[in-house]
């Protein structure tokens, strides 16, 4: 472990992408991270807005969005096109040699269309393989990979994929070559003890503490799959995981949740 170089994988969500000033501030902090790094970004409201402007209606099944062909095209246009390429250009201006990717590029992330007996969620893919060898070659060239949450199935089909999962599977795959730190930036300062109190950030969350808080229902709903995902990644070789606001990237900021095995 000690001899592996450091790699930081950062995931940002739509709340940062939708706010031009917040995005600029985030990218400045991200650009200042030393060593090898990868950025994974989610979507944001622009896809929904673009779909509306194009007269494409979102289809839902029991509250979950179905990605039909027109909606996939909008996701590819906005996530892999507009958002990804503007982030890449902005990082270039900050002297980071960013390169924007979908999973189809270099076969970096291959997925398979989600199978579900009951519901067809459409063009949604779950990650099956990461081309970590080629990612390593790029990193060693000081390229900063920037991933949108679009993957491919190897048969010519692009697929919409969960950005959190992309970040954790990339982190796990790269841990063969690197000492990987995975940082999830979201709208809160960390995992909260009291969801009504923004200041109740759990600074260090072990698996044991997590199990207790889950039983007590202190940690619940959307936070559960996110954290299960984190503990899985730690078990599979990721060194450390942080969950917090984009401020977490600033060197003098210590308010975030450090998730440890």
């Amino acid at each position: 472990m000690a001899n592996k170089p450091e790699l930081t994988v950062v995931k940002i969500g739509g709340n940062v992408i939708d706010n031009e000033q917040a995005l600029q501030a985030f990218l400045t902090d991200f650009a200042a991270i030393q060593g090898y790094k990868i950025l994974v970004h989610g979507g944001g409201k622009i896809a929904t807005k673009t779909a509306e402007s194009l007269g494409i209606t979102a289809i839902f099944h029991e509250g979950r969005r179905i990605t039909d062909k027109p909606m996939l095209d909008v996701a590819v246009m906005t996530y892999a096109g507009l958002i990804n390429k503007n982030i890449t250009a902005q990082l270039q201006a900050l002297q980071n040699n960013a390169m924007g990717f979908t999973g189809a590029d270099g076969n970096l992330i291959r997925s398979e269309k989600r199978k579900n007996a009951a519901v067809d969620f459409g063009f949604v893919g779950d990650v099956i393989t990461i081309n970590a060898d080629l990612i390593r070659v790029l990193l060693l060239q000081n390229v900063v990979p920037v991933f949108s949450a679009i993957t491919h199935d190897g048969n010519g089909q692009l697929l919409n994929t969960n950005a959190d999962t992309i970040a954790s599977t990339l982190a796990v795959a790269c841990s063969s070559y690197f000492n990987v730190k995975l940082l999830y930036c979201f709208e809160k300062k960390g995992v909260l003890l009291d969801s009504e109190n923004e200041e109740s950030v759990i600074k260090n969350l072990t698996f044991e503490a997590y199990q207790n808080l889950r039983e007590q229902k202190t940690i619940h709903s959307g936070m559960l799959p996110k954290l299960e995902n984190c503990f899985n990644a730690l078990r599979q070789g990721v060194s450390q995981i942080g969950i917090g606001s984009p401020e977490m990237l600033k060197k003098d900021n210590s308010i975030f949740t450090l998730v440890t095995a």
Copy 2:
């Protein structure tokens, strides 16, 4: 020259991209090209259609399109997003390890906003530098770069750029490392002696023959800048240039124009 590996740079225009079957046939032929290769693609009608659907009106000055901010966003969404990523996924299905790029990615193509005292054409860029070293690293990894005609200025601004020029400047820059063949695929079978006769393809066009045909006005209008571009590229190190239909990529096809110094 003899010791340099072969590199084929192919440029396709909108007429191929707009036709799903033509695109599939073209990509199958492109995928079969042996050795190192790069694909550069133009736009096609989808940008105009998407702009119309989004209620964005094209602005023209004396017949030339002005790329304002909304139109640039549409170009980035469609060229760098939808078209580029679908081509990349399709080439992956054909066992080519394609990677889709704009000029911002890896700082591969830097441009500057076009300066014109009389007219501001908007977000249009002319190529100033090619990062041939990084392109070489990618090619040696058997990556097949696929470029859309979007570049960046190094200060965070994406710019719309002429795809023919991207193809020729890439070909010239890569000729330091490779023996470069540049193929322009367009809607005709080659440079025609008689623009009314599709079969009057000039099979071999030297600079001397070109000068005569230009004086006689046999070659005129849009073909002139295309050919000037070709002869410049040949003078700057490109080995050979072909102009013809996408059929030119088929091994048994000899009907196209070979432009030579």
